[in-house]
């Protein structure tokens, strides 16, 4: 094909869109561009612990596991993530406490550690 000069129109970078594999907790796992698991089935407790360590959460307490278990069970039953009020009701915890419990808060922290994928776009 005819070669066309390849200036990019400005100095910015290309769109950072790609899903990517990472080696973590002894496995190769696919993540989306926000760092959420692509498939909820890839989740294990070891993976959660490894992700937590990356976020500065070295030790999971029973409260952490209770939240993660609720997320997992809710997703398995309903096929979607719970709203915060459902999370609070299901764990018996206050939202402010939940936000503080996980680095990154509920969505980017707890939900990500629980391995719940983001709703899918057209792929």
């Amino acid at each position: 094909m005819t070669e066309v000069p390849e200036p990019r129109g400005g100095s910015g970078r290309e769109l950072g869109l790609s899903r990517h594999y990472r080696d973590i907790a002894g496995r190769r796992v696919l993540f989306d561009n926000e760092g959420f698991l692509w498939s909820a089935d890839d989740w294990t407790e070891d993976l959660a612990a490894a992700l937590g360590a990356e976020m500065g959460l070295d030790t999971f307490t029973e409260d952490h596991w209770r939240v993660l278990r609720f997320f997992r069970e809710y997703y398995a039953t309903n096929g979607r993530a719970p709203l915060n009020r459902q999370l609070a009701a299901g764990t018996g915890m206050r939202l402010l406490d939940l936000e503080e419990l996980f680095p990154g808060g509920i969505r980017r922290g707890a939900r990500r550690l629980a391995g719940l994928p983001n709703p899918k776009t057209c792929t």
Binding site: M1, G9, G10, G12, L17, G79, R80, T121, C122
Partner: protein, 883 residues
């Protein structure tokens, strides 16, 4: 003034201003919402048609003041779902109801005709319904429905004779769609039909500039106007103010810069829509225009201004390399090159981008509810939560008046949700038609340089393509469109060598996103044009050339993916008798200024793309029926048929024992979009998986009923999943996983070209398609017909020109006048991985249409149009150049 008239048999007295039109009186005062509004009350769409004194009238043009003593009948006066009129039954049983937005108007126009002409000809039907627009059907089934209604009314047939037995076979049978009758009776609630007394009405200020800095926004004068509750700008939005479909580049309301004509800048909320629109005109925005980048090549040029501070104008590049193309081109006996361009097109659903947002509950427990036209409610909910900073939210999909890809992304919902939060009130946003066009994405324009080569025996040997995609101002899913184009680049054919590249580029044009086919139609236009030219140059029959070069099981696509089923040659055989007849008729045409031509084009469209997942839950109900839970939007294609018929078949239930819960985020699984023709394959597959689990659980405990399951203590709800292969195209070679299955089509266009005016008339389109096992024949045929009509629009008429295309006339909407004859040939090769052998068909239907028409034009008059649409001016100019 006071007016007395009869409405649906009931005497009415109303006191109205002289300018009030009947449509507003019906919808706003009598709450009769069967008459729809699409065209800003310009009389262009006919969706508001009612009968006045026996004549069909467009109620948007009919002044109430002139109705004294009149007899008015609306769709609600014709029949109800419990007691439908025969015409309403005819529309349902003929498969003429898809999205249903045009249906009430169509039925009223049909009634006025049938009251006078009980056995109308096609010409009479076309004339009587000439003011009524439809985007879904291509008008064929509407004409058939009117004829069927005539048969019913004349007593020659009855609905009961035609209605399939709901206890009989579920697959391969056109059972009435679950939603069809309420749409035909005008009682399906589209978003604007939902009563919201006290809701503030919204109107938006949009940028008149393609690229400019916002220096200031002065809202004082607007805020002081009657009825105005306030004006909202970007600073009033508490969340990210960004729609993050894949890249957080598109603001709900522009912050410091506008990037295309129509970018929303401010929102007025007022007690009435008229007050909001008046106040919009009083909002003063000071802009500093910037250089506008009107094409990808301008945007990629050295020194071009950067449209987004974070990202270069060249968003992405994807090469595709297979085999040794350079060598293949060097050794080829025949090579054809061409440079093709496709236009920007509006998807043109009839329903405007309406949205309603309100609070469900009070105080801290209030949930914000957004009602709109989404086809991916969970993804859109997540986007709205982030953009507005409000988490407790629910999205409800109302009935949707067509979408064709336009609702892949959030349009009006961000504005409505943010306004409800800002004003702490229920709000309703009914954008005008130009506003709806401003707010929504468009079909991406493609610039394609293509080169194809064949050996001396007429076997294709190499494909080269350089694809430049105008992404517009925001990405939305531009990267997906590009990848889809690359995954289907080689179309239906075997190209042993490929050297291609695609680039996706930000510009200051309206943003692109999904539009029926989303990428493949554009590249397929170039590919099928080039293949046709190569066949003609080699003096090989174009149909035979395609059959000879079809991909075969064991061969690979341009992605390197080896296919194990490819029933395209069979389509060539199926269409051959039609092709031979068409060629013969064209050659028999006498001398004159009107020349007949015949063209063919193929297409093989991927189904089940990599990295996809769907989840659907089923629950056994106390009456031993089942409820299906899944966000499977149905904006008109017939996903409700697909789910209910697959479920009824798998559970061996009558259709009325299958219930669907698909429309709100609080009760459904997050399931991905009603796009990419994916729901039959993905969600149908997940549904069957869920039912398999339920049946296994029942068998394991010996249960045959809900009561048995309860007694055994066994769960009654099961979650099914369907996943596709995971992986991406290699960034350097474009080799990698592609679609798990394919739907194939081959289309035959017969056109007549007026060599004096350049006008092209499509006489007939014939489509041979294979989408695996057919679940609902009428739905498949309806998709094929509607897609061909849309494809002809793409080929000959339709174009969105920013700032100029403002209504259905300037858009050149398809009408009864442009409608043409269609033949459909269905082949059924059950797909190994399909849902009971079925795959989707909604997009495939448009993929071959434009090249088939353009190939027919060349066959007729010897000129090739490289730049869509092939308007009379372009054809005439090409003819002049040839002479």
């Amino acid at each position: 003034m006071k007016v007395t008239f009869t409405l649906n048999g009931i005497p009415r007295q109303v006191v109205v201003d002289p300018d009030v039109v009947l449509l507003d009186l019906l919808r706003d005062e009598f709450r009769l919402t069967g008459a729809k509004q699409s065209c800003d009350k310009k009389g262009q769409c006919g969706a508001c048609t009612v009968i006045v004194d026996g004549k069909a009238v467009r109620s948007c043009l009919t002044k109430v003041a002139k109705l004294d003593g009149a007899d008015v009948i609306t769709i609600e006066g014709l029949g109800t779902p419990a007691n439908p009129h025969l015409i309403q039954e005819a529309f349902v049983l003929a498969g003429a109801v898809q999205c249903g937005f045009c249906t009430p108007g169509m039925i009223m126009a049909a009634k006025a005709l049938l009251d006078v002409h009980p056995d109308p000809s096609t010409a009479q039907i076309k004339r009587a319904l000439r003011h009524n627009l439809c985007r879904c059907t291509g008008y064929v089934k509407i004409i058939e429905a009117v004829k069927l209604a005539g048969e019913f009314l004349r007593g020659e047939k009855t609905p009961d004779e035609l209605r399939p037995d709901p206890h009989g076979a579920k697959l391969g049978v056109s059972h009435p769609r679950p939603s069809a009758l309420i749409k035909a009776c005008g009682v399906a609630q589209f978003t604007a039909d939902i009563l919201a007394p006290g809701a503030l009405e919204l109107a938006a200020v949009h940028s008149p500039h393609p690229h400019a800095l916002i220096k200031s926004i002065d809202t004082k004068a607007a805020e002081a106007m009657p009825g105005v509750a306030g004006v909202m700008t970007a600073k009033d939005i508490k969340g990210s103010n960004r729609h993050n479909y894949m890249v957080p580049d598109r603001p709900v309301l522009c912050e410091d810069r506008v990037r295309y004509i129509g970018d929303p800048v401010a929102v007025v909320a007022a007690e009435t829509r008229e007050q909001a629109l008046a106040a919009v005109a009083a909002v003063r925005v000071e802009y500093e225009p910037l250089p506008a980048l009107g094409s990808p090549h301008e945007a990629m040029a050295e020194g071009a201004p950067q449209i987004h501070s974070e990202w270069a104008n060249l968003c992405l590049t994807q090469p595709q390399i297979k085999g040794d193309a350079a060598r293949a081109f060097a050794e080829a006996g025949h090579v054809v090159e061409g440079h093709y361009h496709t236009q920007m097109v509006h998807q043109a659903p009839l329903e405007p981008e309406v949205c309603l947002a309100f609070f469900d509950g009070e105080g801290d427990d209030a949930q914000l509810v957004v009602v709109g036209r989404s086809i991916n409610i969970h993804k859109h909910l997540a986007m709205l939560q982030e953009a507005t900073g409000w988490e407790d939210m629910r999205y409800e999909e109302a009935y949707v008046g067509g979408q064709f890809g336009i609702k892949i992304d959030v349009t009006s919902e961000g504005i409505a949700a943010a306004a409800a939060l800002h004003f702490r009130r229920a709000v309703r946003y009914i954008p005008s038609l130009p506003e709806s066009m401003y707010l929504s994405p468009k079909r991406h324009p493609f610039d394609v340089k293509v080169k194809v080569a064949a050996d001396a025996d007429g076997n294709l040997t190499a494909l080269g393509m350089d694809v430049v995609i105008d992404n517009g101002a925001y990405n939305s899913m531009g990267n997906v469109v590009m990848n889809r184009a690359m995954m289907m680049l080689s179309g239906s054919y075997n190209f042993p060598a490929v050297d291609a590249r695609a680039r996706l580029v930000y510009t200051n044009n309206p943003w692109g996103a999904a539009a029926r086919g989303a990428g493949p139609p554009q590249v397929n236009y170039a590919l099928e044009s080039a293949v046709d030219r190569l066949a003609r140059e080699m003096k090989i029959d174009p149909l035979e050339f395609r059959r000879r070069n079809s991909l075969r099981p064991g061969q690979s696509k341009s992605t390197g993916q080896v296919v194990d089923e490819w029933p395209f040659p069979e389509l060539c055989d199926a269409i051959k008798p039609h092709y031979d007849r068409a060629v013969r008729e064209a050659r028999e045409m006498g001398e004159g200024t009107k020349k007949r031509g015949v063209g063919v084009a193929g297409g093989s469209f991927g189904i089940g793309g990599p990295n996809d997942q769907s989840m659907v839950a089923v629950e056994l109900d106390p009456d031993d029926g089942i409820t299906v839970y899944g966000a499977v939007a149905d904006p008109g294609e017939g996903n409700d048929s697909m789910l209910s018929q697959l479920a009824a078949d798998a559970m061996d239930l009558p259709l009325d024992k299958v219930r669907l819960v698909t429309r709100d985020t609080d009760h459904t699984t997050a399931n991905g979009p009603a796009a990419a023709s994916r729901h039959t394959y993905m969600s149908g597959g997940a549904l069957l998986d869920a039912i398999r689990q339920l049946r296994e659980a029942m068998a394991a405990c010996g249960a045959t009923t809900y009561a048995d399951m309860q007694k055994a203590g066994v769960p009654t709800r099961y979650m099914g999943t369907r996943k596709t292969v995971v992986g991406t195209l290699d960034p350097e070679t474009g080799q990698g996983p592609s679609f798990e299955s394919q739907v194939h089509a081959l289309q035959l266009a017969e056109v007549e070209v007026d060599t004096e005016t350049g006008e092209v008339r499509v006489i007939r389109m014939t489509c041979a398609a294979d989408a695996g096992r057919v679940i609902h024949p009428d739905n498949v045929i309806g998709q094929l017909q509607g897609g061909m009509d849309m494809g002809v629009g793409l080929a000959l008429r339709e174009e969105y020109v920013p700032g100029k295309t403002k209504d259905w006339v300037t858009f050149k909407y398809p009408t009864m006048k442009t409608a043409f004859d269609m033949d459909v040939i269905i082949c059924e090769t059950p797909r190994k991985r399909g849902s009971n052998g079925a795959v989707g068909v909604g997009e495939m239907t448009l993929v071959p249409t434009a090249p088939a028409v353009l190939n027919a034009i060349e066959d007729a008059v010897g000129v090739r149009i490289y730049d869509l649409p092939a308007t009379p001016d372009k054809v005439k100019a090409a003819l002049a150049a040839m002479r």
